[in-house]
Each structure stands twice: as C-alpha cells, then as structure tokens.
Symmetry: C2
Subunit: 191 residues, 2 copies
C-alpha cells in the first residue's frame, strides 16, 4: 500500500530501501471513512496530507454558511491549507474524505525536520511545490479568463474520470454554481 | 543595487560573499523602461524574473482581445508563467514593466544548474515556492469567497501603497472590473 508513495517520490528522486524507511518514520498513516473530517476550521495544529488512495476535499464556509470547495486531492496529490500550515496559524478550512481513503500526514515541524535530517528530500519537495504553484497560478488564470460554464467544460474534457467520480454537488461547490445549474450544463454537454 | 537581492536571500539562507558572487553568475541584470515588454505570448525560451526595484505585471489576452492581468510583482518578488517555465512550453502570457524597473532573470536551465551546483540554494527556493504556492492558493480562495468589489476593499486595506502606486486601469484588469466601475467603488470607499 505504501509502495505507491515510494513510486511517487521516485518520479522525482531516487531513494534506497533504507531512505524510504527513514522517510516513513516522519509520517502517520490513517484510514478514513467517506465523509470523515480530518481538519476543522479553528485548528492550529495542522498537517500536510498525501493521498495514497481515495479523494479529499478542502472547503471553507461563506459568511452565509454555504460550503465553498477550494481544492480536491486524488491519489498521489498533497493537500493542506498552505498559508495556515506554513505560518502555524488558525485555519478557516475544513478537510473531508470524499471517498473511503488512505492517507499519510505530516506536521509542519516534522516536515522541517525531514528536510533537515534527510536533505535528499529537498529536491523532492522543491519539485512538488513548483508544480503545486504552477497549478494554482494556472487555476487563477482560468477562473479569470473563463466563465464557470466554460471552466466546467474544460474540466470535463481534461479530467473526465474525476467528473464521473466526484459527486456533482461538490463539483458545483468548487465552481461556484448551484447543483441545479450544473445539472443543466451537463445535460447540454452530454445530450 | 544587488544588495537588496542578497538581503532577500539571507532572510531564508545565510550566504557568504563568495556564495553570493557564485549565485549572481547564473543571472542577468536588466533595466526596463516603463511599459517595456520582457515576455510575449508564443515565446518558449522563458525566464523567471526577480524584481530589484520597480514593478512588473503579467497578463494574457481574452479571446475578445481584452488584457487580463493575472499577476503583479513588486520589489523582491519573483514572476513567471510557472507552468510554461517548468514545462519549457509556449506561454500565452505577456510580461511588462509597470514602472521603470531593474530586474534579474534566470532561465529554467540555469535555475536547475544553480540548484545542482549550489545546493545551499535548495532551501531558499523551497521556501520561496512554498510561499508562492500559499499566496496563490489563498488568492484562489479569495476569488471564490468574495465579490470583486469586496476583494478590492480587502486589497486596499492590506496593500494601500500598492493601490496608490499602480495605475487604476491595471488594478481593474486584475480584478476583472471595468475602470469606470472601479472608479465608482473608489469614490464610495474614499468619500
């Protein structure tokens, strides 16, 4: 089960059996049931989550109480409220399992220790963060350039499996659409 | 003039005189006139830009030809179209000097060489990218949670100097508002 984590790291950085064992000692493994919460708004002791299998989502509450999904994470993706995680400040984000999931988690202190004590992991994390920043910057651009309808169509073209897999009301909450309106768009596309 | 770059690096990573000289050899220094272009859509040979003084903005064109400003960079900020820069693919973004500016630029190949040959820079770049990702993720959340008017008010409260400094039509193009509408909001706030 943890082999997928090793394969993922090895895409960026070759590691030996001993090095992989050493890395694992900084993490905790957790199994989550569908809809289980692993982070609540108001927490200050935060973790960075790596999805072994399953799917997580992060959301925050609009002042009117509505859930706004800000991020999803599938297999081999990382997820955290990065600003609160780095600054060790209170988060306003919730993290929930969308499906039964297995995850690894690491605290900010442990991550810093890992990078210091196992410096070969610097190159891994550097590349992960470069890609995460590229994806977030690209997403910002998409949301500025296109309407929510156009973004859903692109999303559906680029990640058809994801759109099939995740409940539609969560995709609607990610795009800022009502579930009813998203359902209309889907009917148009798939008819 | 390059001392500000050194001070900036030293916030993250102590370096000696020799190390700083070595780092500089990977960069080129450029002076830019206000409105000068340093990147055009269609380019594939891209650079990451560090602002010594002045201000840059990145924008892309909407299919209707309208300029959409996606990012600004002030002193001690980095700027590039990260997805195209990492993948060495064609960019759809333009980068322009908003004011007379002095900048350092580094190509992706040189950046990779710098990290390999001067490994003490790994920790610097790791922290820069962690912060860049945190800022981009936070911005995504803001644009999902708040109206463009509310974002301008927050922007104005958090970065009053920036709002005074940058031409209003560029702030409007960043927020996706018409300059006329932004002017109305400003009148309301400042009256």
């Amino acid at each position: 089960m943890l082999n997928s984590f090793r394969q993922h790291i090895q895409k960026y950085q070759k590691i030996s059996d001993e090095q992989f064992e050493a890395i694992l000692s900084y993490f905790e493994v957790h199994s989550l049931k569908k809809k289980e919460m692993i982070q609540e708004a108001g927490q200050t002791q935060l973790y960075n989550y790596f999805v072994i299998d399953g799917c997580l989502r992060m959301y925050t509450l609009h002042e009117k109480g509505q859930e706004i999904t800000t991020d999803f994470a599938l297999e081999s993706w990382w997820l955290c409220d990065q600003k609160a995680y780095l600054g060790k400040i209170e988060t306003d984000c919730y993290i929930q399992a969308v499906e039964n999931s297995r995850i690894l988690r690491i605290s900010r202190d442990k991550e810093q220790l890992l990078i210091k004590e196992q410096p070969f992991m610097q190159i891994y994390f550097l590349q992960i963060y470069q890609k995460a920043f590229a994806a977030a910057q690209f997403r910002n651009k998409l949301f500025k350039l296109y309407s929510k309808e156009e973004i859903f169509i692109q999303f559906n073209n680029n990640f058809p499996d994801f759109v099939q897999r995740v409940p539609q009301y969560l995709i609607a909450s990610y795009l800022g659409l009502t579930p009813e309106y998203l359902s209309e768009i889907r009917k148009k596309i798939f008819s």
